[in-house]
Symmetry: C2
Subunit: 425 residues, 2 copies
Amino acid sequence: MKIIPLREDVSLKRSIDQGTEKQRQSVVSILQDVKERGDAALRHYTNEFDGVDLPETRVSAQEIEEAYTAVSDETLEIIREAIDNIRDFHERQVQQSWITTKEDGTMLGQKVTPLDAAGVYVPGGRAAYPSSIIMNVVPAQVAGVRRIVMTSPPQKNGKLSDIVLVTANELGVKDIFKTGGAQAVGALAYGTETIDPVDKIVGPGNIFVALAKQLVFGTVDIDMIAGPSEVAVLADRTGKPSYIAADLLSQAEHDPMSSAVLVTDNKELAEKVSEEVTKQLETLPKKDIAKASIDDYGAVYVAETMEQAVEAVNELAAEHLEVHTEDPWAILPQIRHAGAIFLGENSSEPVGDYFAGPNHVLPTNGTARFSSPLNVEDFTKKSSIISYSKEAVKNNGRKIAAFARLEDLEAHARAVEKRMEEYND
Amino acid sequence: MKIIPLREDVSLKRSIDQGTEKQRQSVVSILQDVKERGDAALRHYTNEFDGVDLPETRVSAQEIEEAYTAVSDETLEIIREAIDNIRDFHERQVQQSWITTKEDGTMLGQKVTPLDAAGVYVPGGRAAYPSSIIMNVVPAQVAGVRRIVMTSPPQKNGKLSDIVLVTANELGVKDIFKTGGAQAVGALAYGTETIDPVDKIVGPGNIFVALAKQLVFGTVDIDMIAGPSEVAVLADRTGKPSYIAADLLSQAEHDPMSSAVLVTDNKELAEKVSEEVTKQLETLPKKDIAKASIDDYGAVYVAETMEQAVEAVNELAAEHLEVHTEDPWAILPQIRHAGAIFLGENSSEPVGDYFAGPNHVLPTNGTARFSSPLNVEDFTKKSSIISYSKEAVKNNGRKIAAFARLEDLEAHARAVEKRMEEYND
């Protein structure tokens, strides 16, 4: 790994696929077609892109039952425990509606309401990611969303993967449809004969899915468009090189464009981690991907002080931040920007990917400066509550009318004065 | 007003200005220019669009002092009381960081951190809107944002309006710059020699400002792009026609494209409100705007039952919803979608625009289905906290590694197993 003295300039090299104009045009026309022709369009594109003709897109009870035969008891148990942990964590995020009352009869408040319906996109492709299903479905369920719709592109055999079906069923998701790509996003946003539209679409996908989500945003809400995964490790002389190297590589194996960066005040550690990365890399099955990531997007920054190192990781605002220092909790108050903060040498980043409880859908590409992990709140919205009494209008009406006139809004002033007239009768 | 029997089809006619391709191109080139030339570009565009050459964009202490001489004591008092009310309400929205601990040493949590910096755009033009400054600045301040930057286009005399300066100063905003339009958005997103970049840009503006915000989204966060203002009134036979008509008109005077709709189960009320609207409209100074709005976007829907009427207002998902019924609080649990809910005949919508406390920046265009009023949360972000102990890794490491292998991520599995190896020594 490159070892770089940390001066003022620290940056996490990042790269996001924005799609080409041709891809965008293709997505625009797919969305339009789904809007107009509904299920017929879905069938057409599933045939074209997934190479299978499906007269019926809804997953049947029988398909789910069959999927269970292919999943081991051990796997099933791990998935159930992961769901329990993740549900437990998200239940702590639930917000309450509240009101406040004043003696003049004024009542003000905030009502928290779940979205009516959410759509969860589950990508197809080489590997199945049951953790992604859990992380996207659980916060919606905990929020109280009444209807959760899952869509995923069918395999060549016309089915979804067993582990996807089993995970969805363990979560209690009932509406599962075999459709993927931009067409699935269109179906979730506009609805078809068999798929009712939803209010928000979440879940990862390829560039066509990402573009489609951007295009339907406004008609529905969407989650963030995720860039390649990132980890920053902050370490002092107590950091264990073998742990840190293993964690850097676990990000690097995701994608040749993943970023893995160490920031430390200890030159010796920097060198040892770099050596360990080279050593551990050799034996990885996804060695080529990880090597490309480490070579192109990896770096070890050596700071002169820990203060400087901490400020550097704040500037990076990484998706994942690991803190391998003598007293990691003492660092926590100084961390301003990070999607998830892993404290201490035992808190390897993969712990948070599947099992611990917090969400693994995290802000990438520096957006941790202003964005949060996927959250129960993302599946609720608030409404302000305003209840004014006669007395409150009497006390404040004159001031409200004056404020309205300050903004040249006469009808606003009169609406309040209309009440005051009658009270003076 | 049109009186329409409510069947299945209820809709709030809406219209959003998306901008033309020419406007978009113009904004793209302005943003690029500000990115490259900084202050020089700002000065250029201020000269071009606002017709004034300003070597110095920062508002001086002297300008603020002078502004106070033009604002009456009564106005100042009203503004101070409004700020107090709005601050009091927003302080109730503050969220705490939290952790949860398990006996095996696991600690999980969520850290809430304010954004480092926020930019508030204040439009220029005919009228000044001090309420808009208060509504955008207060939640950022309550969230704990350390740096709040305000920008607004200068008047022909090279200054900002007195009321804008006084309101900003009363709020304690220190960094105020005389620059507007797309160029101001560019300065806030990318920074210039005199304006440091921010993390989030909020505040209303014309189509150029809206397009610029959309284009810088991702580099920084933005608030929602607001459409024309909307009110839906839900009323039964107890509704007072003169109040309801006045409130409908107070929305209608905003913009010819504002929507004002009444939904009631009482035909007599529908007719009386319609008559009152015609009557009250005649005497309004902004009669032409209000009439265009009522004619084009106004409607009275008559439902057969209150249940049907309630479901209709949920479908409308209006920015403002007024409930004029015998027992308005009994309706509240049934309201799923609305930006702000005004309960009872005294809760005229203008009460919430300036003074009561809740935010007046609300979701328009049906986005109340999934969006919330501007909130303290919008100026914070969360980071997950994950601290695993040796014991927690011992207990769960095997399961986490198995889950990682299920997703074909070998380096993830090994990162966890690397810890387990050492524990077994």
